[in-house]
C-alpha cells in the first residue's frame, strides 16, 4: 500500500462511500453536543420524525452559557439568571432525556467544556472520528483522531445518520524540533506557529504536529496545540500515537479495559504517518527559538514574544497590513513601538478549552503560590475546564492557593472565553487570557484580549501588567 499520513489512515478507515463528485460519506464515531448549536438539530429530527441513528456514539453536556458563579450554580438550571441561556440549557436536558442521549448535566461529575470532557472521560479515543457543533473540536486530535467542528444542519445530519457528507482535506505537517526553554509552554508553541503561518495558513488542510517538541509534550499540552489549529485556519489538527497516548487512555471511564484495551492499543500504534508519506505543505520551526508569546492585536496571528515591542503601522510592508495594524492598535488602545510587557491588565482569565486542564491549573497555581494579586486587577478568574479537573485541583489544594492569592475559583464552563454568561470584560479593559480568540468584542463589548499561557496570565495577575514569566520574581515593580 502507498505511504499514508495519519490523516489519510483515519479518512480511509471511516469511508462509507466515495461519490463521483468528490464528496464522500464519512462515518462518525463520536458526536459531542452542547446547548447552543444543538436545539434546532433536535427539533429537525422531531419534525422529520427521525431518531438518532444510534445512541452510544453521542455524548452531551452544557458548557457555553452556564454560570460559573458557585452560588448561581448551586441553584441548578433554575438559577441561571439569563432567560435565553436558561432555556437553552433546559432544552439540552430535555432533548437528551427525550432521545436517550447520555448527558452530563450541569452540576454532575463528568460535566465540563466539551473538549475537556471528551478526552478525560475516554469518550475520545485514538483512531476515531469526532465531531461537535463547535470549531475547537480539533482539540481531540491530540489523541490521534480525526476531529473537527460542524454546523447545526450537520449536527442533525450526524444525529440522524452517523455520517457526514464531506470532502477530503490536504495534508500539512508542522514540525517543531529542538527543545523548549524554561517557561515556554504548549500555548507558546501554538501561538508561535500561528504567528508564523498566519490565520489562513492551514486553510483546507489537516495539520499534523510532529517533531521532538511534540513527542516530549504531555497529552494535555498536545490538546492545547491541536485546539488552536482552527486559529491557524485548519479545521483539523492532530498528533500521531505514541506510548504517552496509550498511557493517557488507560483506565478512563469509556475506554476498553483488560485484554480489549491491549488489542485496541495494538491498533492505535499503527496511527502514525508512514516514513515516506507525502504532505502537501510542510512547515518547520525551531523549538529552541520560541519565547513566551503574547497577542497584542485582534487576530490570533497578531502575536509577539513577550520580550518584543508592539508593531508599528508604518513599519508594515504593504498597505493592507498597515491598515490592519492601525485598526488593531486603535481597538486595543496601544502604542506601536512600546514594549508589550508594559501593558497594564485589568482582568485575568485562566480557563477555556485551550488551557483549563489539571496541568494548566497546576502551572498557574505554582506561579501565584504565596503571592498576591495586584491591587490594580479588577478580577482574576480561574475556571477549571470540567468537574473532574475541579475535583482534582481541589484534592491537590490548588483552589486554596488561588483563593489565598486573591483569584476567584469558579465552576466549570466556557465562561469569559466567549462571554455568553456574566463573565465579561468591560469596554476598554485589557485581559490576560488563556483562551484562544482575541477578536474584537469576543470577551465582551470593547474588551481587549491578550492571549497567553496560564503561567504568563498568572504572572500578569500578580504583576498587574504583562510580564515575562521567566524573569518573574513576584516583585510588583
Amino acid at each position: 500500500m502507498s505511504q499514508r499520513t495519519v490523516y489519510d489512515k483515519l479518512w480511509d478507515s471511516h469511508l462509507v462511500q466515495q461519490n463521483e463528485d468528490g464528496s464522500a460519506l464519512l462515518y462518525i464515531d463520536r458526536h459531542i453536543l452542547h446547548e447552543v448549536t444543538s436545539p434546532q438539530a433536535f427539533e429537525g429530527l422531531r419534525i422529520a420524525g427521525r431518531k438518532p441513528w444510534r445512541l452510544d456514539t453521542n455524548l452531551a453536556t452544557p458548557d457555553h452559557n452556564i454560570s460559573t458563579d458557585p452560588a448561581e450554580r448551586a441553584a441548578g438550571v433554575a438559577g441561571i439568571p439569563d432567560n435565553t441561556s436558561r432555556i437553552q440549557v433546559q432544552t439540552l436536558d430535555d432533548n437528551c432525556d427525550h432521545f436517550g442521549i447520555k448527558e452530563f448535566k450541569m452540576n454532575e461529575m463528568g460535566q465540563g467544556i466539551v473538549h475537556v470532557m471528551g478526552p478525560e472521560l475516554g469518550a475520545t479515543m485514538p483512531g476515531l472520528t469526532v465531531v461537535c457543533g463547535d470549531s475547537h473540536t480539533a482539540t481531540h486530535g491530540a489523541l490521534a483522531c480525526l476531529a473537527h467542528g460542524i454546523g447545526t444542519s450537520e449536527v442533525e445530519h450526524v444525529l440522524a445518520s452517523q455520517c457526514l457528507v464531506t470532502k477530503k482535506m490536504k495534508n500539512m505537517r508542522v514540525t517543531v524540533d529542538g527543545a523548549l526553554g524554561a517557561g515556554v509552554t504548549p500555548k507558546d508553541v501554538v501561538l508561535a506557529i500561528i504567528a508564523k503561518i498566519g490565520t489562513a495558513g492551514g486553510n483546507g488542510h489537516a495539520i499534523e504536529f510532529a517533531g521532538s517538541v511534540f513527542s516530549n509534550m504531555s497529552i494535555e499540552g498536545r490538546m492545547t496545540v491541536c485546539n488552536m489549529a482552527i486559529e491557524a485556519g485548519a479545521r483539523v489538527g492532530l498528533v500521531a500515537v505514541d506510548e504517552k497516548t496509550i498511557e493517557y487512555c488507560r483506565g478512563r471511564q469509556f475506554m476498553p479495559a483488560g485484554e480489549m484495551f491491549e488489542k485496541a492499543a495494538e491498533y492505535w500504534r499503527t496511527l502514525m504517518s508512514d516514513p515516506d508519506a507525502m504532505f502537501d505543505t510542510e512547515v518547520h520551526i525551531d523549538g529552541n527559538d520560541i519565547a513566551p508569546q503574547v497577542s497584542w492585536g485582534t487576530s490570533p496571528e497578531m502575536v509577539i514574544p513577550v520580550t518584543g515591542n508592539i508593531p508599528r503601522a508604518e513599519d508594515q510592508t504593504d498597505v493592507v497590513k498597515q491598515k490592519g495594524v492601525e485598526r488593531a492598535l486603535e481597538y486595543m488602545g496601544l502604542e506601536g513601538g512600546a514594549p508589550i510587557s508594559s501593558v497594564a491588565v485589568d482582568r485575568v482569565f485562566i480557563g477555556s478549552c485551550t488551557n483549563s486542564r489539571i496541568e494548566d491549573m497546576r502551572a498557574a497555581a505554582a506561579v501565584v503560590e504565596g503571592r498576591t494579586v495586584s491591587d490594580s486587577i479588577k478580577q482574576a478568574l480561574v475556571v477549571p475546564g470540567s468537574q473532574m479537573v475541579k475535583a482534582q485541583a481541589e484534592a491537590e489544594g490548588l483552589d486554596k492557593i488561588f483563593i489565598e492569592a486573591g483569584l476567584d475559583w469558579r465552576e466549570p464552563g466556557c465562561s469569559m472565553c466567549l462571554a455568553m454568561n456574566a463573565d465579561k470584560l468591560g469596554a476598554g479593559e485589557h485581559c490576560a487570557s488563556t483562551s484562544n480568540r482575541n477578536f474584537e468584542g469576543r470577551q465582551g463589548n470593547g474588551g481587549r484580549t491578550h492571549l497567553m499561557s496560564p503561567e504568563m496570565a498568572a504572572a500578569a495577575a500578580i504583576a498587574g501588567h504583562i510580564v515575562d514569566v521567566r524573569e518573574f520574581t513576584g516583585d510588583q515593580s
Binding site: Q17, P39, Q40, S153, H157, M255, A264, Y267
Partner: protein
C-alpha cells in the same frame, strides 16, 4: 422534508431588490432554540409598526397597513414574487425557516444570494429563477388580478400562468432530484443506510471497543 413536484397557490409580492436575510428575519430572533415558529416574524420590521421581540404574541402587535403581504388579498399566499439578489447578507438558515414557516413553498426571483439559495433546498423551499422581464410580467398580472395563482411544475421545470402559457426554468439536477423525491441531504444519506450498517458491522468486528461504552 415535504416533496415538491408540483404546487399551485396564491401569489404574493416582495417588490424590492436586494432583500437581505436580516430583513427576512431580524437578528433578535436568532436567540431562539427552534427552527420553526419564525413565520410570525417573517419580514418583521416591514410588517409591524413596533419593534419585535422574541416570544411575543404577534397577533396583538400593530401591523403596517402599507405592507403588501398584510393585505387581505394576499392572505394565504404560498408563492413569493421577488426581485434580484433576494436573500443577500448573513448566512442565517433562519431566513428559509421563516419563509417556509409562514407558508411559502416557492420564491420566484431573477437572482438569489448563493448561501440563501443553498439553504432553501435544505428546507424544502423552491427558489425559481426567471428573467427580469418575465418577473415584470408576473408582477403586473398579479397586481391586476386579485386571487392570482400560479402553478409551479418542478418535474417539468415550468411556471404555468393562469392563461395556460408557461415559462421554463433551469435547475441543477441533483437539487431537483432532492426536492422532487422530498429528500433533504439527510434523506439522501439515509438512502445509503444499508452501506452504513454494513460499515458498522465490519467496524464492530474489527474494533469492538469503538461501540457500546457510552450509555
Amino acid at each position: 422534508m415535504k416533496a415538491f413536484t408540483q404546487h399551485s397557490g396564491l401569489v404574493g409580492p416582495m417588490d424590492r431588490a436586494n432583500v437581505d436575510t436580516d430583513m427576512i428575519i431580524p437578528k433578535q430572533f436568532l436567540k431562539s432554540i427552534k427552527r420553526s415558529g419564525f413565520g410570525p416574524n417573517l419580514f418583521d420590521e416591514l410588517r409591524y409598526m413596533d419593534e419585535g421581540q422574541p416570544g411575543q404574541d404577534c397577533s396583538q402587535r400593530p401591523v403596517n397597513p402599507e405592507f403588501p403581504l398584510n393585505l387581505a388579498r394576499y392572505s394565504g399566499a404560498s408563492i413569493l414574487l421577488a426581485r434580484k439578489n433576494f436573500g443577500c447578507g448573513s448566512s442565517r438558515e433562519h431566513a428559509p425557516w421563516a419563509l417556509e414557516d409562514y407558508g411559502f413553498r416557492a420564491v420566484i426571483a431573477p437572482s438569489y444570494a448563493d448561501i440563501f439559495y443553498n439553504n432553501c433546498f435544505k428546507n424544502g423551499l423552491l427558489p425559481v429563477v426567471l428573467s427580469e422581464q418575465q418577473l415584470d410580467l408576473l408582477f403586473a398580472e398579479m397586481y391586476a388580478d386579485e386571487g392570482y395563482q400560479l402553478t409551479i411544475d418542478l418535474a417539468g421545470q415550468k411556471v404555468v400562468r393562469p392563461c395556460g402559457d408557461s415559462f421554463e426554468f433551469d435547475i441543477d439536477r441533483f437539487r431537483k432530484d432532492c426536492l422532487v423525491k422530498g429528500l433533504d441531504e439527510i434523506g439522501l444519506t439515509l438512502q445509503s443506510a444499508d452501506k452504513i450498517r454494513d460499515y458498522e458491522k465490519t467496524r464492530a468486528a474489527d474494533q469492538p471497543w469503538v461501540f457500546g461504552a457510552i450509555k
